[in-house]
């Protein structure tokens, strides 16, 4: 007898339906899976067999073939345990074929018949709902991430026997109650790293605010202990809250990578891979074409601490996604595309010993050593970092008492307003922040009055700034104007923007 059960598979972050067909017939007892299964899918035969038996259900002593269709795409992971088990139960008449019609099944089985969590549930539920499927059965532990998806009834049983009872009409399960994004969003906690806790660092905080407002990548150069890591960690706290669509996309990726803890991701991601990270772990790929750190940081912050310490190839691999906002990961049979729209925050010491530029002049590095160190960062990568600042170690002795730091919430308010202005301005252009402008768009949105144009020419000559830095300066000036609520870029905005380019001259000239 033949039975068909629906399940899902992933292509990048998008899901597509897979049909699990089983044929049970005469011949020596055997159990085969076909349709490009990977090792985990093949192992599912043993799990399914034990799970059915240990659930006090019947496992047929016949020849069983389970086919995963379409047969030309690779099936990965253990999520087909449950649909295969259901197909066997249906083919053997233990469950009525009509009962499971149109219902999607996802889940790994333990030998005892428990249903275990699997990766990538959210993108599959979203895909199932949008493709018109009305019911889905998935592991209890994945219930929370799935519960935000509307338009589909979700069942999240803990064991195979519960599923059997439901579809055999013995004991119906109740669907998982739907959760609403607005409730989660409202219940968000105070940020763990708040700007109010950072003493001084006025210049760096201002630069962070501008970076957040325009979506600009930022590089911090400073000695050890000056607060670079602390500033980077606080950045997400001044970014606008994620929209539901953004949160879903982030959760999808985290779900696929198996780093999801609990439900939907509500905070913007902050990823800080160690400098020993391989290119694959940064960009994604490997045998299973999993998303890398840059995709896990999607809609959030990718923090690369001690930038020159990263492998050269890893840094170079960042260039394309920084430009495109996505990464294409190639694997044996096809390519997968993952979103990778992140803010890059990088930090580095000014020289090998870390103390070049310190007040007490303790740096003994020769200029040659310093140049060799700085050269580890390639020009094209620097070109993608709009804001570059120095974060010196400042003694705050004389500031005690005068220090009235703003909280992240206050700064975020200004950031949000500046972002709204950008969304308004770029409506219909595909852009949504200033950092994304290309040279044509810069010409259109960053026009200067003739007086300012002359002034900038002078500044570049006088301060010996690199011409390559000019477009980046204009983008940053655009954001400063947006923070100020101004329609046009004015002299003030340009003069401030010069501040965020001076590192270039001092270090990479």
């Amino acid at each position: 007898m033949i039975a068909k059960i629906l399940s899902f598979a992933l292509d990048g972050i998008d899901g597509y339906p897979v049909t699990v067909e089983t044929d049970i017939g005469g011949g020596l007892p055997a159990f085969d899976t076909v349709g490009l299964p990977d090792a985990a899918v093949k192992e599912s035969r043993d799990r399914v067999k034990s799970a059915i038996k240990n659930s006090t259900l019947n496992f047929p002593q016949m020849k069983i073939v389970a086919n995963l269709a379409p047969a030309d795409t690779r099936k990965e992971g253990s999520l087909y345990d449950l649909p295969i088990a259901m197909a066997i139960l249906t083919a053997t008449g233990q469950v009525d074929a009509h009962a499971t019609e149109g219902c999607v099944f996802i889940g790994e089985l333990s030998l005892k018949g428990e249903i275990r969590r699997v990766n990538g549930v959210l993108p599959m539920v979203i895909a199932a709902a949008s493709q018109g499927y009305k019911r889905i059965v998935l592991p209890a532990e994945n219930a929370e991430e799935a519960s935000y998806v509307e338009g589909i009834e979700i069942f999240a049983p803990a064991t195979l026997i519960e599923v059997f009872r439901h579809f055999a009409g013995l004991a119906p399960m109740s669907p998982v109650p739907a959760r609403r994004w607005s409730d989660v969003a409202a219940a968000r906690e105070n940020p763990a790293h708040d700007f109010a806790d950072i003493r001084g660092q006025y210049a760096a905080k201002r630069a962070m605010e501008i970076a957040a407002a325009g979506g600009h990548n930022i590089l911090m150069v400073g000695p050890p202990g000056s607060g670079k890591t602390m500033l980077a960690r606080a950045l997400p706290s001044i970014l606008p809250d994620m929209t539901f669509a953004e949160a879903l996309e982030v959760t999808k990726i985290h779900s696929i990578a198996g780093v999801l803890s609990g439900g939907i991701v509500t905070e913007r991601p902050f990823r800080s891979p160690h400098h020993t990270a391989s290119t694959v772990s940064l960009t994604g790929g490997g045998r299973r074409a999993e998303p890398g750190e840059i995709s896990l940081a999607n809609h959030g912050v990718l923090f690369l601490d001690e930038l020159p310490e990263y492998q050269h190839s890893a840094l170079e691999a960042l260039r394309q996604p920084l430009e495109d906002g996505f990464i294409t990961v190639t694997r044996v049979q096809n390519t997968v595309r993952y979103p990778a729209r992140f803010m890059l925050v990088a930090s580095m010491n000014p020289c090998p010993c870390g103390h070049y530029g310190d007040k007490n002049g303790q740096c003994r590095c020769t200029l040659q050593q310093i140049q060799r160190y700085l050269k580890k960062i390639s020009g094209p990568l620097l070109d993608r970092i709009d804001i570059q600042i120095e974060v010196p170690a400042v003694e705050y002795g004389e500031m005690v008492g005068k220090d009235k730091s703003e909280s992240s919430a206050v700064i975020r308010e200004r950031v949000c307003r500046a972002r709204e202005r950008q969304l308004e301005r770029y409506r219909g252009t595909g852009l949504y922040n200033n950092a994304q402008m290309d040279s044509t768009q810069i010409r259109r949105w960053c026009a200067l009055c003739p007086g300012d144009e002359k002034m900038m020419e002078q500044i570049f000559r006088r301060m010996n700034l690199s011409a390559r830095g000019y477009t980046r300066l204009l983008k940053v000036a655009r954001t400063i104007a947006d923070l100020a609520g101004e329609e046009n870029i004015g002299t003030e905005h340009l003069l401030e923007a010069v501040q965020y380019r001076s590192v270039d001259k001092k270090y990479w000239s």
Partner: protein, 363 residues
């Protein structure tokens, strides 16, 4: 430029790989006539103390001495011999002046009366870098030509600063003009060729040898009125140049430093021995009547400051300070302070250095 027969002969001899001054002289003394040299080298009766390879080269270059000149011109290199008008008068006075100078760039600088050498440690500190940049820049603005060795550290920094300030600089090399040393200053080499002058007594393809540099130093001091040492350790090569300067009757200037700074041991010792203590370009310009006139009077005249600029200037009275400290002292918020400081920087009222620090350039 006019070359005599003898000039062509000298140039050909000096073009031989790694030719030292005493050897050039020995060759020309033993064989005043090039034809005699060719004969002697031809039959091996020359008796010259030269390596075989050098002899072969010498023979071939002297035979085709006219071509040598053309080949050099192809590189835009012009040799100048002691007998020529273009030869620096200042160099002609020193003991052991070079017989031939291979030059590339602005030849008129050879006889510029306004040259000062700026030299110092190859592994300088940040403070040394700042001082060299500032003083060389100010000197260049006073139309003083900065002479140096284009070495790592102070030399190259001072020469870059001179060019940046729109001034002139002469680089004296310890290698041929086809062998740029140190390689990281290749860009500076190009810039000096464009806006200054490159000089060496070594033939085109001669590599930089350690024993060239002490020799080369006598030209650095010889071309200038005086030598300024910015940073020098106890045994710094810069002190060799100082010795040359003293032999040549040139003035010696030195920037003092902390007694704890090993890089200031040499300069502090020089000052103790009577070198002129230098804090800024003015301290040097004052030493010469014709240069003293060039001291910028507007520097002392206070520029107009608006209310905010005055607050910043007040905050910097006690000395340089970080951006954040200026925020704390003036109460101007960070974004706007960036605007004010950029403006003041452009007007030359403040100067920015590594570590996002500012200092006042006016009194």
């Amino acid at each position: 430029m006019k070359y005599s027969e003898h000039d062509l002969y000298l140039i050909a001899v000096a073009s031989v790989y790694d030719m030292q001054l005493h050897t050039i002289r020995a060759v020309v003394r033993a064989f005043p006539e090039p034809e005699r040299l060719i004969e002697a080298l031809g039959d091996g009766s020359d008796d010259l103390n030269l390596a075989g390879e050098q002899k072969k080269q010498l023979l071939s270059l002297v035979r085709r001495r006219r071509e040598v000149l053309e080949r050099l011109a192809g590189y835009r290199v012009f040799p100048v011999t002691m007998g020529m008008n273009e030869y620096p008068r200042a160099l002609a006075e020193i003991p052991d002046p070079p017989e031939v100078l291979f030059c590339k760039g602005d030849l008129s600088l050879l006889n510029s009366p306004d040259c000062l050498s700026v030299i110092g440690s190859r592994s300088c500190t940040r403070a040394g870098e700042t001082i060299a940049t500032r003083i060389a820049g100010e000197l260049a603005q006073a139309e003083i030509t900065i002479v140096s060795g284009m070495a790592r550290g102070i030399d190259g920094i001072a020469q870059r600063a001179a060019l940046e300030a729109g001034g002139k600089t002469i680089a004296v090399l310890g290698s041929g003009l086809n062998k740029i040393y140190p390689p990281e200053n290749a860009d500076l080499f190009e810039r000096v060729a464009e806006n200054g002058l490159l000089v060496t007594e070594y033939g085109m393809n001669t590599e930089a040898m350690p024993y060239h540099f002490p020799q080369r130093n006598r030209i650095i001091s010889g071309l200038a009125r005086g030598v300024l040492v910015v940073e020098a350790g106890e045994k710094s090569g810069a002190l060799i140049t100082v010795r040359c300067a003293l032999e040549q009757g040139r003035d010696v200037f030195a920037v003092p430093g902390s007694v704890l700074n090993a890089n200031a041991e040499g300069t502090n010792a020089l000052i103790k021995d009577g070198a002129v203590l230098v804090r800024n370009a003015e301290d040097i310009l004052r030493e010469y009547a014709d240069w003293a006139e060039r001291i910028r009077s507007e520097k002392t005249a206070a520029p107009e400051l608006d209310e905010e600029e005055a607050r910043v200037a007040e905050a910097l009275k006690k000395g340089e300070a970080e951006f954040d400290v200026i925020v704390a002292r003036t109460g101007i918020d960070a974004g706007h302070l960036g605007v004010v400081l950029t403006k003041m920087n452009l007007r030359g009222i403040v100067m920015q250095s590594a570590g996002n620090r500012y200092e006042l350039c006016i009194r």
